[in-house]
């Protein structure tokens, strides 16, 4: 038994408040030893317990006829017909990625992959959602290069295509970058695996990599602000091994084809502790582990270290009795460790044995029931004042040229060409479109996937920003012709103990809930990352509220998906969902206002969910009926930027009339699409405004040549990263 005394200092080092330690004492009905304290500390960390966000998360809609499994398991499960399910989730790896960008990002990808294949799905696509600070911040190129190389290094090696993502830059992320990774997998609906342990006496099996000392207390680190010493936390960042992950995917899927598995759970944050506790708690059983039998990479590891290690590429399974040898043969074929380390009990306790002694004995129900739950004080974000003294554009073309090369609008080619986005040979819409489309292998079905969030909107008005994140995801799926199905989210915020930050969380969730209900896109999985604020940059700066959304949609036939590139000259260009003549272009919080005039004020564009739904429904109908040749949603940068992106993708210009002022050109009004085709306005409207705004052709947009626009658009990343892109 570990005999170190539990002093207030030791409690504080474990990230537990004195009140929380009182709860530990109450749960244990005695003083815990160090191993037990360590287990409580990680299970009750913000990262594992959602103690600040749980009561608000309950408001999110999580059900629908398409939902097979909502939040609470490793990932969400959605029906895609024909006995198949899409399994997906998005997760943050923010804190580790700031400290050690390559490994932080790589292990973020590894972790989310495991969440998905744990449930029986073969991963078919990765996505990501990234936020960086100012491009000219002295650390930023190192962080960008490291994160991109890390995501690529892991995803490319495991052979799962990284098919898209999003990137924003803002000074609020100078000291806290965000790295959110999403994986989508496919499984048969009768072959989905869950994590609830059952069957007293059933063997508990550990597979994958050996356990080392890496990542101890990673979950606790991710539950605190960065101090000035964040660099010193590098040893708490895990190291990834994508090769082992690839073997683990193949071995697990091979075993899952049999009936040997009762329950399975990956070892993610808080490693062996959270996997074993969650499996036992969900099954309402007890668990006994023999720590001597845990495969160990280093000598002299204590049970405390083994339980808190975040070594990667490990899984915990409960097998049916007598199937150990069968399972072992599969893992030996794939050259992975396989060890029976314990069994299921009926005691309702987690008992750890080591060298013949009981070194921990924790009642599981109190560990869950006594877990802290906070209704933290929150103040609503004041509504922004209306935009005043709106500047005019003196030269629309010049403004467009500048915008196309700005960090938030420039081409992301430099990033996605470092990701293998084609492996699997099923990527039918590659990065660069509104949503990626991946064919469901061996079928005609296509899954559309997008990640979205506009943090500057969320900061100005959390409710509208939360709505907009969902609405934009819905729009991106609709723009490729996919029926939106469901959502995963990754809620990145600053310190929830500040009422104004808590107010952002509550506001964003309110907006998201409303939009999810209106657009019938339930949230089936997610992750919360708090304390994204840093003293490291000297400012005590908080990130912008960033509730990143990952969403999927279904196309019955991938070949009927729409793309954004113009298809030919002389086709009509139409704006769906708004009219330019209204002159109602919304410039508050627009990129034009920020990039051309250095202003970040005004309210964000409001989201009218009824109009959003009507426009999306119409666009999908037009695509299904073959009435449109190209489709693109209007978002960052507004109408003229959307048209330019369509023109650049095709190398065909656009002749536009009636876009002569900044509001019409660059206003970021929501619920709009640009499409091309003939006589669309006369076809049918379903009550949605359709306005012809021009004709495809020529080699200019707004008087600027496509060559100039392309140069500006493509130059940003290579120029920023150029000379020492490879240093990370």
């Amino acid at each position: 038994m570990t005999q170190s005394p539990i002093t207030p200092e030791v409690v504080a080092e474990h990230g537990l408040s004195p009140e929380e330690y009182e709860r530990v004492l109450h749960a244990m009905e005695r003083q815990p030893n160090l191993t037990e304290l360590g287990i409580f500390s990680v299970m009750w960390s913000e990262h594992c317990s959602y103690k600040s966000s749980r009561i608000h998360l309950k408001r999110l809609p999580t059900t629908g006829p398409q939902v097979i499994c909502g939040p609470g398991e490793n990932a969400g499960v959605v029906d895609i017909g024909d006995g198949q399910a899409a399994i997906f989730k998005m997760e943050s790896h923010n804190h580790p990625s700031y400290i050690e960008p390559y490994q932080g990002a790589a292990t973020g990808v590894g972790g989310i992959l495991r969440d998905v294949f744990t449930m029986g799905a073969r991963p078919i696509a990765n996505m990501n959602s990234l936020r960086f600070g100012r491009p000219d911040h002295p650390k930023m190129r190192h962080l960008i290069a490291g994160v991109v190389h890390g995501i690529g290094g892991y995803g490319n090696c495991v052979g799962v295509p990284t098919v898209g993502g999003e990137v924003n830059f803002h000074k609020a992320y100078d000291g806290n970058i965000l790295v959110n990774a999403m994986t989508v997998g496919i499984a048969d609906t009768d072959k989905i695996f869950y994590s609830a342990a059952s069957g007293v006496g059933n063997p508990i099996v550990y597979v994958g990599s050996k356990t080392g000392r890496d990542g101890i207390h990673g979950a606790t680190m991710a539950s605190a602000d960065f101090g000035e010493d964040s660099e010193e936390k590098r040893p708490t960042v895990q190291v990834g091994d994508p090769f082992t992950e690839k073997l683990l995917i193949e071995a697990c899927l091979e075993l899952m084809a049999s009936d040997a598995i009762v329950a399975i759970q990956d070892m993610g944050a808080a490693g062996l502790t959270s996997s074993s506790v969650e499996m036992a708690s969900k099954g309402g059983v007890g668990i006994e582990l023999v720590m001597d039998d845990v495969p160990q990479r280093e000598e002299g590891m204590t049970p405390y270290e083994m339980m808190l290690s975040e070594s990667q590429e490990r899984m915990l399974m409960v097998l049916k009795p007598g199937r150990e040898d069968f399972a072992k043969a599969i893992f030996e074929k794939w050259e992975l460790d396989f060890a029976v380390i314990g069994h299921v009990t009926n005691t309702g306790r987690m008992v750890l044995k080591w060298k013949g002694d009981v070194v921990a004995d924790i009642p599981l129900a109190p560990l869950a029931d006594e877990a802290p739950l906070y209704d933290r004080p929150h103040v609503p974000t004041p509504k922004p004042a209306p935009l005043a003294n709106v500047p005019e554009s003196t030269d629309i073309g010049a403004d467009l040229l500048k915008l196309m090369g700005t960090p938030d609008l420039a081409s992301r080619r430099w990033i996605w060409e470092q990701y293998d986005h084609m492996v699997g040979a099923d990527t039918v819409q590659r990065p660069g479109g509104d949503a990626a489309v991946v064919r469901v292998h061996g079928t005609q079905k296509g899954l559309a996937i997008t990640t979205d969030c506009t943090p500057r909107y969320c900061f100005a008005d959390p409710v509208e920003g939360g709505k907009q994140a969902i609405a934009e995801a819905w729009r991106n799926l609709s723009a490729v012709g996919a029926k939106p199905l469901a959502v995963t989210n990754c809620l990145n915020f600053a310190n929830p103990q500040r009422p104004e930050i808590m107010g952002q969380i509550v506001g964003c969730l309110e907006g998201m809930s409303e939009a999810c209900r209106a657009l019938d896109m339930p949230i089936v999985s997610g992750n919360v990352s708090l304390y994204n604020e840093s003293k490291a940059t000297g400012g005590g700066s908080a990130i912008l509220p960033t509730p990143a959304i990952g969403a999927i949609g279904l196309l019955p036939d991938w070949s009927e998906s729409a793309t954004l590139a113009f298809k030919g000259e002389g086709e009509g260009i139409y704006l769906i969902g708004g009219t330019v003549s209204e002159r109602a272009g919304h410039l508050g919080q627009s990129l034009w206002l920020r990039e051309l005039h250095g202003r970040e004020d005004g309210p964000p564009p409001p989201v009218n969910l009824d109009r959003e739904k009507a426009a999306g429904d119409l666009v999908r109908q037009l695509i299904a009926d073959g009435k449109v040749t190209a489709v693109h949603d209007v978002s960052d940068g507004g109408l003229l930027v959307a048209v330019t992106e369509m023109a650049l993708a095709a190398g065909i210009g656009a002749e536009l009339g009636a876009i002569t002022d900044a509001a019409a050109a660059f206003g970021e009004d929501q619920g709009r699409y640009v499409v091309t085709g003939d006589d669309i306005d006369r076809a049918y409207t379903m009550g949605v405004p359709i306005t012809r705004i021009g004709t495809t052709g020529g080699n200019e947009v707004a008087g600027i040549s496509l060559d100039s626009l392309r140069s500006a658009h493509e130059a940003f990343f290579p120029k920023l990263m150029g000379a020492d892109a490879a240093l990370a």
């Binding site: 190389h149 052979g159 690839k246 470092q418 990701y419 293998d420 084609m422 492996v423 040979a425 070949s559």
Partner: protein
Amino acid sequence: MKSAVIVFPGSNCNRDLQVALRDVSGQEPAMIWHRETALPEGLDLIAVPGGFSYGDYLRSGAMAARSPVMRAVKDAAHKGVSVLGICNGFQILTEAGMLPGALMRNANLSFVCRDVDLKVENSQSAFTSRYEAGEEIVIPVAHHDGNYTADEETLDRLEGEGRVAFRYNCAVNGSKRNIAGILNEAGNVLGMMPHPERMIERAHGRTDGRRLFEGLLEALG
């Protein structure tokens, strides 16, 4: 055409190659685990797929080249069986000494995944017979270590003997003389960095890679 795809731990294009071979030839290729020491009888084609065999730890392809199955692959190649190595497969074939030269880290040190313009330099091999000499085709690459190098004498010999099968139209990864794919002396072993199996059907946007497999089918029956 009776074909086999070798599968190493860390291979990740084996299924794509399996699909391409099945689709074009109508026959199911045998999937051969790297620990096998013998290959099925009567093979016409052995395909070594892309991926990250053994994680590409040590050097790309170095450990796979020493896998038990590679002895059988070499023996089969000596007997005239066609061998196609794509991406990591090309790296493995050079590490196994079945093709000259080596594939180093890309000149800019970054992974590159994109469609590239290739020129078919030799249309006389079983692999390239369905292309015209000098024809320009588009096939994607996806690699970190595609920077082909060999000494000048070897490069001159490859050129002189018509063993440069494919060449990049512009610099992609720093390869000497923009070499994208080469043949062995006997012409029955091809290693190439681009992925023809990712360009075989409408879903891939183009079908320029399909003719490589069709040529093999025509030549090998």
